[in-house]
């Protein structure tokens, strides 16, 4: 029924990045809140904001730059909770390319995810004054697929990795950490918020919906905290929900461990300072602005205030 059904659209395939939600589902936290939750896995062609707009989901996970861009495009999505405190995004480069600092990127080839995930990189480069249009003293941008091959094949000097996933895959391929140089967005001061929960603004006018979300966020956070405390069991639960049957156990446990570091500082509520830092980072990008002005009403604490009191 309307009042208790929740559909959540993930932004990638089933993996420990989304452990909190699967744990809440498996351990019955949603059920305890009287909710009937459906989790829709994502994939390379799924734009969660589009699914939200089409009414295919009640809530989505998204990176904030992508969500803010959607807002400016006329799709009013609102952040209602932010389980990820810190960013796991980084660039991973071969050390033997001689890259030591951001300035060394000039003339190098760098793999970047697009599909709404390119904004943090573009902002960073434009803040650093490095062109991304392929000109002489700029970087050559490669649209990275879903694997780390461009780095292993040395087609790219650096690629985008998440601390919890692709970086581990590079190591799994037999590369040792001291062959690599990493640039965490967090360390570079250009971190943007990842994996927040977003809903459509108009829905928040409906008290029934608000109530539903309050319960949803509460249960989800309970799931996250349990997952942080029990990484191996949480990874096991994720594996149970992976219908492809192709995920490896070790990889998911490692991912859970890394994700726990990112969720650790968050009780689910959005820290306005983090929000402002994300916005400032995006606005600072001069030539290719992701957003052109300070967003209004892009987040709300209404849900978390009720959920966490």
């Amino acid at each position: 029924d309307e009042a208790n059904d929740v559909t959540l659209q993930l932004q990638w395939v089933t993996q420990s990045q989304f452990a909190g939600y699967y744990v809440a589902l498996e351990n019955g936290y949603y059920e305890a809140e009287g909710l009937n939750v459906t989790i829709l896995p994502g994939g390379p062609d799924i734009a969660p904001p589009q699914v939200l707009a089409g009414g295919g989901a009640d809530a989505m996970l998204n990176w904030m730059p992508s969500a803010l861009a959607a807002r400016e495009r006329g799709l009013p999505v609102v952040n209602i909770a932010q389980p990820f405190k810190t960013s796991g995004l980084m660039l991973t480069c071969w050390k033997d390319t001689g890259i030591e600092s951001v300035e060394d990127f000039r003339g190098k080839t760098i793999g970047v995810w697009f599909f709404g995930n390119e904004y943090p990189f573009l902002s960073w480069m434009s803040q650093a004054g490095i062109p991304t249009d392929g000109s002489e003293d700029g970087v050559e941008v490669l649209r990275q697929g879903f694997n780390v091959d461009p780095l292993l094949n040395r087609e790219a000097d650096c690629i985008s990795t998440m601390t919890y996933n692709e970086y581990g895959q590079v190591l799994d391929a037999g590369v040792s950490e001291d062959e690599l140089v990493t640039f965490k967005y967090e360390d570079q001061g250009v971190a943007t918020l990842e994996d927040g929960i977003y809903v459509l603004e108009e829905n928040l006018e409906d008290p029934v919906f608000v109530d539903k979300m309050v319960r949803f966020v509460r249960a989800s956070m309970e799931g996250w905290k349990w997952a942080e405390a029990n990484p191996e069991a949480a990874a096991g639960i994720v594996l149970d929900y992976d219908e492809t049957g192709a995920q490896g156990e070790a990889a998911q446990i490692r991912m859970m461990g890394e994700v726990a570091k990112l969720t650790a500082g968050s009780d689910g509520s959005l820290d306005p300072a983090d929000f402002q830092r994300t916005v400032d980072t995006l606005l600072a990008g001069g030539s290719d602005p992701v957003i052109s002005q300070q967003p209004e009403g892009a987040w709300t604490s209404v849900i978390t205030d009720q959920a966490l009191n």
Partner: protein, 306 residues
């Protein structure tokens, strides 16, 4: 049976070429790995090795040949690695297990069959319309051709979101994309088939003053059967491709497409290759099945000698 030996020879030649190619294709990765294990490699830095082709590097490091066949994440897996993966995921797992390719095959196949049914039905209806209605004939055909130049992978997510927004999820959206790819060959083939009766065969019915309805059931439809089967065989493999493509934007949950994607994402080439071959085998089996039905039907209709 007469084809068995030739097919085996060609397959043998391809396998041989494949086995030989494994060495140069994997040489760079192997050299990097070997060096980390303190095996001597020439040249001795990865950057320097980039200047050599796979073959060039292989010739300088013949002692690494064996290793190229046993990599966990090869650029080109060797045939036996793929075979082992296929054996394990097809034969050694219970068919209900998510690690079984049979299970994933069924997921893809169900969407394929539904989509194929929809696409074929639609294609036949459209063909009948085109043959019997001049306006439709002149309007629709160019657009049907244009429709096939639209990259389905671009359209698929939109179709899925649109269907999702009216509450349709699961099998059906995948089937729609399957149908989109399979209707075209059916239209083309059936238009040809329904128009295949010659002037004399049509005139014969006119001398009986047969109704258009009788003309369809007694002449055009039976005459089109050979064409129909030719299109069905193309259509069914197009359907399978459609179902696999559709598995990416529906959430890459299960099926051959999901296996290929996830195998690619998590650096498990064998998963991808096994799914790829399983998909091709499935297509071959479906086409073979239709060939059998075709032979049986045509023989019963007396349209095929022997």
């Amino acid at each position: 049976m007469k084809s068995l030996l030739p097919v085996l020879s060609v397959v043998g030649a391809i396998l041989l070429f494949w086995v030989v190619s494994v060495v140069p294709m994997n040489m760079h990765l192997t050299a990097d790995l070997a060096q980390r294990q303190d095996v001597a490699v020439t040249p001795d830095t990865p950057v320097a090795r980039q200047d050599y082709s796979g073959i060039g590097l292989a010739l300088r490091n013949t002692h690494l040949f064996g290793m190229t066949y046993t990599l966990d994440r090869p650029r080109l897996p060797s045939p036996h690695q793929v075979a082992v993966e296929m054996w394990e995921t097809i034969a050694l797992r219970s068919v209900t297990s998510r690690r079984s390719l049979v299970y994933h095959g069924w997921v893809t196949l169900s969407a394929t069959l539904l989509g194929f049914a929809i696409g074929t039905g639609l294609g036949i209806l459209l063909a009948v319309g085109i043959v019997y209605n001049r306006a439709m004939d002149m309007s629709v055909m160019p657009w049907a051709i244009a429709s096939q130049t639209i990259p389905i992978l671009a359209l698929a997510p939109m179709i899925i979101v649109m269907l999702g927004s009216i509450g349709i999820q699961g099998l059906f959206p995948k089937a729609v994309i399957s149908a989109y790819l399979s209707f075209f060959p059916v239209v083309v083939g059936m238009v040809k088939g329904l128009r295949s009766p010659d002037a004399m065969q049509l005139d014969l019915l006119r001398t009986y003053s047969a109704s258009p309805n009788q003309g369809f059931w007694k002449l055009r439809l039976p005459a089109s059967v050979p064409y129909l089967f030719a299109s069905l065989k193309i259509g069914i493999s197009a359907s399978l491709v459609g179902a696999i493509v559709a598995e990416l934007p529906t959430g890459a949950r299960a099926g051959f497409g999901a296996r290929m994607l996830v195998g690619d994402q998590y650096g498990q080439p064998m998963v991808t290759w096994a799914a790829l071959f399983a998909a091709a085998l499935t297509a071959a089996a479906l086409v073979g099945l239709f060939s059998l039905i075709e032979r049986w039907t045509l023989r019963r209709m007396g349209m095929q000698a022997t």
